[in-house]
């Protein structure tokens, strides 16, 4: 992670790429902690669901425990992201993710999802992904809890909860797989979720209606490491 305010004066010898802050440290923690929990639940869930895979593991009770508690922990990173002075920027981004402008719909319908000139800090795909995950978590927690602690509920609820849990799990696998594939196809965007900063040129081209310094961040000149030219998702703390 690059210190956000690290400024290196340009020297004639090095090529300097201007970058802007896209995600604060708290936002990156929120993203990656949620990602670890969702992936853990998805993988243990797949093993418990697919009979031939289940047969390969003889500690099924442990898998079940890991599955249940990684699911129940999913809101914890969000609560933590709201727990301190870092909450303002988290909140500002959640607000941006919530609101869909007419430009977002145009971007969604456009051939090849080219940026157009209407996309803000998040495009409609990123907004849809965030909304899906935010809806998936309470649905999976509620249905999973009914499956696990079914005693107080009518039996039909257990069947219904199993039904919802199964289909939502399949949808989540598709959405998360798509999210990861898109991230790997756009290294600068993935890099910004790893290091927090993104090149000013990328921000201008892909998020023209986002003004990066609007919420206080000042564009700074970060020193690019040689590696970050080819592999921007690797550490840039050169």
């Amino acid at each position: 992670m690059t210190p956000a305010n690290h400024v290196t004066p340009a020297t004639p010898a090095t090529q300097v790429t201007p970058t802007v802050e896209r995600f604060t440290r708290a936002e990156r923690w929120l993203h990656w902690a949620t990602a670890v929990l969702v992936l853990t639940a998805a993988i243990t869930g797949l093993i418990l669901y697919v009979g031939p895979l289940t047969a390969l593991f003889d500690r099924r009770e442990l898998l079940k425990t890991v599955h249940v508690y990684s699911g129940l922990a999913m809101p914890v990173p969000l609560v933590a992201a709201y727990a301190g002075r870092w909450r303002d920027k988290v909140r500002a981004d959640l607000r941006r993710l919530n609101r869909w402008t007419p430009g977002d719909w145009r971007w969604l319908r456009s051939r090849g999802r080219v940026a157009g000139d209407q996309v803000g800090k998040f495009n409609a795909g990123q907004k849809a992904n965030a909304a899906f995950i935010a809806g998936m978590i309470p649905v999976m927690m509620a249905t999973g809890s009914i499956m696990r602690w079914f005693d107080p509920f009518p039996l039909e609820w257990r069947t219904g909860a199993t039904f919802v849990h199964d289909w939502t799990a399949i949808a989540t696998w598709l959405v998360v797989t798509g999210h990861i594939l898109v991230a790997f196809s756009k290294p600068p965007a993935l890099g910004s979720m790893l290091r927090g900063r993104i090149s000013a040129a990328w921000a201008r081209d892909h998020h023209p209606r986002w003004v990066p310094d609007a919420d206080g961040a000042t564009p700074t000149m970060a020193e690019p490491s040689p590696a970050s030219q080819e592999e921007p998702w690797t550490s840039a703390s050169g």
Partner: protein, 266 residues
């Protein structure tokens, strides 16, 4: 822990408060903070659909299963077994380890109120007249696997061989997982669709399905068909089984118990 659909914490509802409390759109962002709150609508829509699914999912599931059945029954690839509602087995166990017993070391004990206690190897069981059934397997949690082939020895034949004493009324059945038990009345156990099965799905009963030998009680919900069958004790009182202690019906007829009147009898 979230047991209900009650107030659920999620990010896009975070700015739900009255308008004056909302943070102003970040200064300078050209139109951030404007536009419809589609994100929140997606979240609330999913929560609403999820709640509806919990309430009516058992019926939707049954309808989907009927719809899928012609496809799943003629699917040589087996891929459809990964689709929910497509009639697939789910593996349940009540213990934290995998109960394993090899074919060679397997023994089935029949004892209690009998004249001649039995201790039968897998080969002994296969020497006795086999019974073949093709019948559905219905779980009390809603899933159903249609037309499963079963081969085994009727409990009736084993009980007759052991010689049940006149004061006996029930069976207490034990799994070699060390935890699971089941109960049957003698009348239920003597039906011609209740067996100690050693073949299932056209092959030996797999370990995850309760092999080498499991119970198959065709007319009842799956929890009666105890896996990893170890011992059948003939007794003179009803001892509720593992799940029956936990609230399931002792007489678990498919379609007329456990509040599941919609299931077709197996």
């Amino acid at each position: 822990m979230d047991h209900t659909l009650g107030p659920v914490e999620h990010p896009l509802e975070a700015d739900r408060g009255p308008a004056p409390e909302r943070p102003a759109p970040p200064r300078g962002d050209k139109d951030e903070g404007r536009g419809a709150p589609v994100g929140r609508r997606i979240v609330l829509g999913m929560v609403g659909l999820g709640a509806a699914g919990i309430l009516v999912g058992d019926r939707v599931n049954a309808a989907l299963e009927r719809f899928f059945r012609p496809v799943t029954e003629n699917d040589p690839t087996g891929l459809t077994s990964f689709v929910p509602s497509a009639g697939r087995f789910r593996i349940y166990s009540v213990v934290s380890f995998d109960p394993v017993r090899s074919d060679a070391e397997y023994r089935l004990t029949v004892d209690g109120l009998v004249d001649t206690p039995l201790k039968l190897s897998l080969a002994d069981l296969k020497d006795r007249p086999p019974t073949k059934l093709v019948k559905d397997f219905q779980c009390v949690t809603g899933w159903r696997v249609p037309e499963v082939p079963w081969t085994g020895v009727l409990l009736r034949d084993l009980l007759e061989e052991a010689g049940v004493q006149s004061n006996a009324t029930h069976l207490r059945i034990y799994s070699f997982d060390g935890a699971y038990t089941e109960s049957l009345t003698l009348d239920q156990a003597r039906r011609d669709d209740v067996m100690a099965a050693y073949e299932m799905l056209d092959g030996p009963v797999e370990q995850i399905h309760g092999g080498p030998v499991r119970l198959y009680v065709a007319p009842m919900y799956g929890y009666k068909s105890l896996k990893w069958l170890d011992r059948i004790e003939v007794v003179d009182e009803m001892n509720p089984g593992y799940w029956e202690v936990r609230g399931y019906d002792v007489d678990a007829w498919v379609g007329s118990s456990n509040g599941r009147e919609g299931d077709a009898p197996t």
